[in-house]
């Protein structure tokens, strides 16, 4: 039996005329220890899908089963890494992670909790910044804290909602490696949601494209059989990598185009021309500006 199963799940928002069906007929099953990436355009309902799995929202039709039982709400068995970090800005890194530790091990002593917190912060290489507030950290560091917080619940499954989309390409690469390392250490089940096909290919065992919404549904599976550990610089050259990447991209572009042709909205652009600001003229001294008080 699959670890996580979605059966004919549909979800819509709004009511009456404004009702929009975001997800329709989603079928997905993830085995224990598997790393699955769902790739889709922005606005195709990816966050809704992950909210259904982490229990913040419930499906209108169909069911979401975790180990055969329907999900009734958020739980410590599913750690979530949010898209925009969602760290509490008034708490330090330690306190942010402590919130999760407190939830999972309420009866442990203070020292035990501290060692746990330090262990998870060490996992994401942030020990030097443990007593800093999120405002003092860079984007990549904040996202690592978010990962540490999710791990600190020692979840069986890790849900990641575009965790790296706000980061620059270089930081992305290192964080991708770190996440894959953490995953391969204790083989948690991972579900990664992303808009970057490369990211999916580098990290996941299986890529599933999400057809753009409304009424988004899942596309066919693409198995990733590249050997692990995958180093981006090396697998970049593999034909298999290029082939797979192009296949997924082509599929996404195709469904994106077909979706677009259905809604042939023409937008009239205003007839505007850019006006160049005054060019700098060399040789003419700029007059000193007079201070105006009124």
């Amino acid at each position: 039996m699959a670890y996580l199963e979605l059966k004919n799940v549909s979800k819509s928002f709004g009511s009456g005329k404004d009702k929009v069906e975001v997800l329709s007929n989603i079928n997905l099953s993830i085995e224990e220890g598997e790393f699955v990436a769902i790739v889709g355009f922005t606005g195709s309902g990816k966050t809704t899908l992950i909210n259904l799995i982490n229990g913040l929202e419930f499906p209108d039709e169909g069911e979401v089963l975790l180990q055969g039982k329907p999900i009734t709400g958020p739980g410590p068995d599913r750690g979530v890494v949010f898209q925009n970090y969602s760290l509490l800005p008034w708490l330090t890194v330690r306190q942010n992670v402590k919130l999760a530790v407190d939830e999972v091990y309420p009866s442990k002593s203070k020292e035990e909790k501290d060692t746990l917190i330090e262990k998870y912060v060490e996992m994401v290489h942030l020990t030097h910044a443990i007593d800093k507030k999120p405002a003092e950290l860079s984007g990549g560091m904040r996202q690592r804290v978010s990962v540490a917080r999710a791990l600190a619940m020692s979840p069986k499954m890790l849900l990641m909602d575009e965790p790296l989309s706000a980061l620059d390409a270089l930081t992305r690469g290192t964080l991708q490696e770190e996440i894959v390392n953490i995953w391969s250490e204790d083989k948690k089940t991972c579900l990664l949601i992303t808009n970057d096909v490369d990211e999916g290919v580098v990290m996941a065992d299986r890529i599933i494209p999400l057809n753009p919404g409304p009424q988004a549904s899942l596309g066919p599976d693409f198995k990733v059989n590249l050997p692990r550990p995958r180093v981006i610089a090396e697998i970049n050259k593999l034909d298999e990598y290029k082939h797979l990447r192009n296949e997924v991209l082509e599929y996404l572009i195709e469904v994106g185009l077909s979706r677009k042709s259905e809604e042939s909205n023409q937008y009239e652009l205003p007839d505007l021309k850019p006006v160049m600001p005054g060019r700098i003229k060399w040789g003419i001294r700029k007059k000193s500006e007079k201070q105006k008080f009124f």
Partner: protein, 363 residues
Amino acid sequence: MKDKILQLTGIQSFLSPWVNIFKGEETKKNINILLKSYIFPLLSILLFVLVWHTGATYLYNKEATSKIEKARAERGEAAALEVQNCIYSGEVGCQPNTLPSPAKVWEAYLSLLADHKIISGKKEAFAKKVEKTNAKRAEQGKAAITYTGRPSFVDQIGTSLKTVFAGFLLAAFIAIPIGIIIGLSSTLRTSMNWLIQILKPVSPVVWLLLVFMIVKTLMSDSDMDKSFMISFISVGLCSMWATLVNTSMGVSTVDKDFVNVAKVLKLSIGQNIFKVVLPSSLPMIFTGLRITLSVAWMVLIAIELLAQSPGLGSFVWEEFQNGANDSNAKIIVAMFVIGMIGFGLDRIMMVIQKMMSFNKEVA
């Protein structure tokens, strides 16, 4: 910490042009800043005093002429001349009673200070005189004899500040917890909304009467300071609405991301309130408290005036009833003091408010 306070109070930006000119950095730019932040405000003050002075002179002359005319109509030419001489000789008794000029207000201010010195001297003398008796009374378990003479202007300011802080604390203690409870539950919010909306615009005078009715009955036989109780409770009740509304608003509009985190981490209600809801609504709460304090100070004067409890309000009222020669000038002094203290209180709250708010974008 020191730097932060300097920066938040605005003292730093106030002093920096001077410092920069001394250092010789960007002299021209700093002189411009200086013009803007010192010279023009100073000019505006001068203009204000000038307008005030001309207006006061005009009113003085008008009042004087009407006084002379009145004497002429009632008692003949000789009486008119006598009144005229009396007025222009500067005798205190027959000065026209009208808006005092800036100079008179300054004089009144000095006389109030002198009065304060005299009264505090008297107080000290009294304290020395009753020292032994008080020690004896303390042994016998009786209350000490205290000075019951007329309070000076500075004492009145102290009393007013005491009352306003008592009222402010009362408002905070009532409004913040209720605001949090109401903010957490939308059902409670809609069911309490009518009450808040109806009570919010009620005038301070009505609150005073209401509090008077209740306190009078409750404390008919206790020897606590009844007028103080009445005035600070009314101040609290008048001013708490801003905090109440702001707190419930802040609590009910916690960022959705934070709410999601709390849900995913399955925080208990207590942890949710203290770790997520309260910190994120602190800026809103402090904005509310700032409004509350300024409303409290504004309302206090009116309430003291009506409740006859000691303080600046009753000072103003007594001077008005008094009708002495310099009463009007003293009222104007009180007006400026009230304004400046209000400004100071607002500044203090602003600094606290800024220290409490965090930058949301970097969360």
